[in-house]
Every structure is written in C-alpha cells, then in structure tokens.
Amino acid sequence: MSITQPVAAEGGSGFTAPGPGSFELPPIFGDVTKPMVLLVLSAVVVFGFFYAASRNASLVPGRLQYAGEMVYGFVRNNMARDNIGSEHYMKFVPYLFTLFTFILVNNYYGVIPFLQFPSFSRIGFIVPLALLSWGIYVGAGIWKHGPLGYLKHATMPGGVKGPILLLLVPLEFFSNIIIRPVTLTLRLFGNMFAGHLLLILFATGGAALLASGNILYGAVGILSFGLGIGVSFLEMLVMFLQAYVFTLLSSMYIGEALADEH
C-alpha cells in the first residue's frame, strides 16, 4: 500500500511516515510477539492487584483495598446495576468487572514507558472479547425469553404493526444481532490504532525534524514533541473512555436483552 511507502522529505532525507506497518512487531522468540507477552502480563497484573487488594479485606479498608473496591463499585453500580436492573445484575458483574479491568490495563500499555504498545491496537485480540460479549447478551436473552421469544424481542419493536414490519424486522435484526459485535470491535481497535499512530508520528517526525540540521526545522521538531506530550494526555483520557464504553455497551446490550416487553 502506498500509505506505508517512505515519503521523501523536502531536504532529501528519507523520513518514513508511520503506517499500519509500524504495528507489525518482530517476534521476540519463536512466534511470540510483544502484544502476546503484554496480554498475558495484563492478566497477571489484574489478578495480582485484585488478589492483593482483597486478601486482607477488613471492615475498615486500607489504601489498596479502598482502590480495588472503588473500581469494583464503579463497575457494579454505575454500569451493571444502572443498565441491567437490580434483579439480575449480580450474575453479570464478574464478567463486566473482568472485561473493564482487562481492557483498561491493556489500553494503558500505550503510555507506560518501555512497554509503549497498546495491545488492543491489534484487532485479533479484540474480536474474541466482542464475540464473548455477543454470546453473553444473546445467551441472556435466550435464557430470559426462549430462542424464538428472544428473536421476536430483538427484532420486533413493541407497538409497531402492519407492513412497516417488513422493513423494520430485517433492519433491527441486522443492527442488533450482526452489527453490534462489529462496532464493539472496531471502536476499540480504531481508537487504540489511531491514537498510537498519532503518538508514533509526533515522536518520529519530531526526531527527524530535529536531526535534519536546519534550525527552523528543529524548532518545528520541538513543537512536534510538545504536541506529542499533549496528545499523550488526550490518549490517556481516550484509553479510559474506551474501556468504560466497551463495558458500558456490553452491560447495556445485556440489559436490553433481559428487558421485559412493554
């Protein structure tokens, strides 16, 4: 693809603009690449943190226990209970909590020095998560309404009658059953990919401008580094927001599948 080809800079120095090729990391050993190692590390980090936070749980929480309980309470109260409803939400809290913390740690790899690679900028890691969420909300709907009942619940909006259903039913089926996991995947992937690409561009572009030898280019290079720092802070916000949104949408879909007819 032409996007990945080197762009010849004005001064003749060959600066290669970052592209999708920047995400193809060489294997560390065997077939194992950096994102794979980071993914396993994230599971260890999440487990270790919450094990340490809940091991000596006491009525008056210590600092670590307080932090763990704050994250747990955030997922349980603000996402699960508000969206699924107080009757069934506890069944889904373990999944949603795991999902949120796992995505959060994996996203923040993008700004941690030396790791500096958000593992969810590789789409292959997100597809199983989205399929898991899809399986859970479809499964919850089937559990509540029965297979045919759920199909009717998901595709027929209440209170609509007549020939307009011919148009609405395929549309609702398409949007509720097929498109949802695709948008879940693409949203997380796109944000992580685009954000990391932006950071690479500011960093490598700034370095190339500084190394060009021209004093004016050098000034622009310093500006580029400054912008890179600003974008890093924006990225930290986006990383949290994407973990929040993935979990929020999962719980919203579950809540919708479990809702009663009205």
């Binding site: 996007i3 080809q5 693409l186 990919f193 929020l248």
Partner: protein, 69 residues
Amino acid sequence: MEGSINLVGLGLSAIGPGVGIGLIFAAFISGVARQPEAQSRLQSIAILGFVLAEALFIITVALAFVLPL
C-alpha cells in the same frame, strides 16, 4: 503528489462526527449548567451519544487502511 485517496475520505468523514459530538457535549454542558445535580445521569447518556457518533469515524479509520487504493 503521492498518497492514498482513502485519506481524503477519512478527512471528510471526520466532519459529520465532529459536528455531532460538538452538539452532544453542548447539550450536555447546558443541561448540567441548568441542573447541576443531574450531572451523573446526563454523563452516561452523553458518553453513549458521543460513542455512537464517533463510531462512524472509527469505522472509516479502519476502512481507510484496509481498502486498497
């Protein structure tokens, strides 16, 4: 000039979500200004709207790099 025409489409596709997200947060801010105690309720709705509007652009980001010239 070299490059992919896909990136022009990427820029164009940023206009719609940009306007949409601006409208969503404008409504959110004015809602909170009128009724500050409703902030926590409005926040999740605003973020949901923001995410749905942003999805259009994000899908284009993926397609811009996936589709051939």
